[in-house]
């Protein structure tokens, strides 16, 4: 077994996911504690230029499986390709982003390698030469600390939680092409349909503007969408708004929806059911707008505004526009 950290650098259509940089930054620190280095692996088709980007964020070596057959994600081919690489380079730690792709890939890969997997981790450290992973359980209501007695020690990492280092434009990495293992590809993607134009996934967003029962109907999300657009934010929703059919399930924050960790969470017309609070309480700054001064959300909010969201949200948007224009 080696003492390197291997990061699966997820990309789609040649665009790297930000969580890859977050994992490289965290991975470099883990590798230093293990006396090894942090390396990355790219899987896909047409990956020119991406290894340089990974080098800037700390990867000392980038393994590249570039094959037309890997252009679209395949659970089987990606698993088999990465399993072959892991068997060959024997990393001490193997990190995958806890994205939709990562959550499909990592458990399958762990089963293939016969190792344990800590899911959706929010903190990673080395303790006594071993990975110590922290992950939320019970929909964010508790934190569990996990150790893995198998090699490699595998974890998926929640996007947007770990800090990213400043890129070093002068850094370079060794690039090593590796073979694609595409013998088994029984499930094939035949069609991809995108969401609404410009929409951002709440699970990966830096800023979320969220609406709840207080928006009153599907049209009530309009001021929320406007503010989100101004801020480059994702649109979130409480279960009440989703259950009422005002917005699609993909936007839901909280239990059976998603746990989110943005820098800024603006809750509009959300009273703050326990499930919702658990799903967004790790946001760095929380702003709440609600008519009811007794709403539980105010207990969690850094900034609480008692008022009508249909007046406050557009007014807030104007102020953001002014400040951002400066």
């Amino acid at each position: 077994m080696g003492n390197n950290v291997l990061v699966f650098a997820e990309q789609r259509d040649g665009i790297l996911k930000k969580v890859a940089y977050e994992m490289l930054t965290a991975g470099a620190k883990l590798a230093a504690d293990l006396g090894g280095s942090v390396e990355a692996v790219l899987v896909g088709s047409g990956l020119d230029g991406l290894p340089d980007m990974l080098a800037q964020y700390g990867a000392t070596k980038v393994y590249v499986a570039d094959d037309p057959a890997l252009g679209l994600y395949s659970s089987e081919a990606y698993t088999d390709t990465l399993a072959a690489l892991a068997g060959q380079v024997e990393p001490a730690v193997l990190l995958v982003g806890a994205t939709a792709m990562g959550r499909d890939l990592a458990p399958r890969l762990a089963a293939c390698l016969g190792v344990g997997l800590a899911s959706d981790c929010t903190a990673l450290e080395i303790d006594g030469g071993q990975l110590l992973a922290t992950r939320p359980i019970f929909a964010g209501k508790a934190l569990a600390q996990i150790k893995l007695n198998s090699n490699p020690q595998m974890a998926t990492v929640r996007p947007n939680v770990l800090a990213v280092q400043e890129p070093d434009p002068g850094a370079s990495a060794t690039v090593e092409p590796i073979g694609a293992v595409t013998a088994q590809m029984r499930a094939r993607v035949v069609e991809i349909a995108g969401a609404g134009e410009g929409e951002i996934d709440v699970a990966e967003a830096d800023i979320i503007v969220s609406g709840g029962r207080g928006v009153g109907g599907p049209d009530g999300f309009e001021p929320i969408r406007h503010l989100a657009k101004t801020l480059g934010a994702a649109v979130g929703a409480s279960r009440a708004a989703v259950d009422a059919g005002w917005i699609e399930h993909a936007h839901q924050v909280g239990q059976t929806g998603k746990t989110v960790t943005p820098n800024l969470y603006i809750a509009c017309g959300i009273s703050g059911a326990i499930q919702h609070l658990a799903g967004m309480k790790t946001s760095k700054v929380i702003v709440a707008v609600n008519k009811d001064p007794e709403a539980p959300i105010f207990k969690l909010a850094n900034y609480g505004i008692v008022g009508d969201l249909f007046q406050v949200v557009p007014a807030m948007e104007e102020e953001f526009k002014k400040v951002l224009a400066e």
Binding site: S75, G116, S119, Q145, R188, I192, A195, L264, K299
Partner: protein, 300 residues
């Protein structure tokens, strides 16, 4: 063509609907006070399997792994339309992590194929609300050597040994074509699970495992022995099949704590509350000040 679907379900503490009784003073949760429920997305998986049966014919087998009381979710499955239910229970599997769990489940699904009836489809919920790991589905698929369709929202076609299904992803959808047999993990937006059917509740009102016999004998002393009760229930199709890890050919070295590389060192319940809390007036001046602070603090 008819299809045999195997549905893997789990009984979980109800972390979704936490009531005041389960909340402690400090805002943390008393896990023991949470009721045990059918994992929500496993109900969506069962519903999808039942719809396959209704559209194409075939049968639905529901399997759960857990302590004897997990038979509750099997009764729930019978009431909703499952043809056969199996409780996989074994003290030696206690403490299994997802790797060990998926190994035992793989053995059990293979045993269903060998001893009961060959299957075409395996369904699971996307994730369980206690651990939220979403690991077991893909791990069972890998161990069974099956292709997987995670985040499945709808089966669009099922014919000629192939399935076409739509996956619900965070941003949009993906349509996947796959050879059978295959494993699907089903999301909550897939369907509205049917409620228990009253006629089936009547038909299966005695459904029990041998673990229930001591209690049943107290209620019906006329049976006198467990054997007599067992014969009576078996004749009426009310005996829930129970397997242990050895019954499904699992190697005890690979289950329970021994087979689990993942060790949970500690669990800290977190309390909900802001450290720095401020009220902002609904006035242009105060909003402008807040926005400036947000921007200056490098949040934007």
């Amino acid at each position: 063509m008819a299809y045999h679907s195997v549905v893997l379900v789990k009984q979980v503490p109800d972390t979704a609907n936490i009531t005041g009784q389960a909340m402690k003073e400090d805002g943390t949760i008393n896990r023991a006070a949470l009721p045990a429920v059918f994992n929500p997305e496993d109900l969506n998986a069962l519903e999808m399997a039942l719809q396959v049966k209704e559209a194409h014919g075939g049968q639905v087998t529901v399997l759960t792994m857990g302590p004897p009381r997990a038979a509750d979710v099997l009764r729930q499955a019978l009431y909703r339309g499952a043809d056969r239910v199996i409780l996989l229970t074994d003290r030696k599997t206690a403490g299994s992590d997802t790797l060990a769990t998926s190994y035992v489940l793989k053995c059990a699904v293979e045993a269903i194929g060998t001893h009961l009836a060959a299957w075409d489809l395996v369904f699971c919920g996307r994730q369980a609300i206690d651990g939220d790991t979403a690991q077991v589905g893909p791990q069972v698929a890998e161990k069974l050597g099956l292709p997987q369709i995670t985040y499945a929202e709808e089966i669009l076609a099922l014919r000629n040994g192939e399935i076409v299904a739509r996956r619900a992803l965070p941003l949009g959808t993906e349509t996947v074509q796959c050879a059978l047999p295959c494993l699907l993990t089903v999301v909550g937006s897939a369907n509205v699970p049917r409620p228990p059917n009253v006629r089936r509740m009547m038909a299966y009102k005695l459904a029990a495992t041998p673990f229930d016999y001591p209690e049943l004998l107290e209620r019906w002393p006329e049976f006198e022995t467990e054997e007599a009760l067992d014969r009576y229930l078996a004749e009426r199709d009310q005996r829930i099949l129970v397997w242990n890890a050895a019954d499904v050919g699992a190697d005890y070295g690979r289950v329970g704590l021994a087979g689990s590389p993942t060790k949970v060192l500690k669990v800290d319940f977190v309390s909900l509350g802001a450290s720095d809390n401020r009220e902002v007036e609904d006035s242009p001046q105060e909003l402008a000040e807040m926005v400036r602070e947000l921007v200056q603090d490098y949040i934007l």
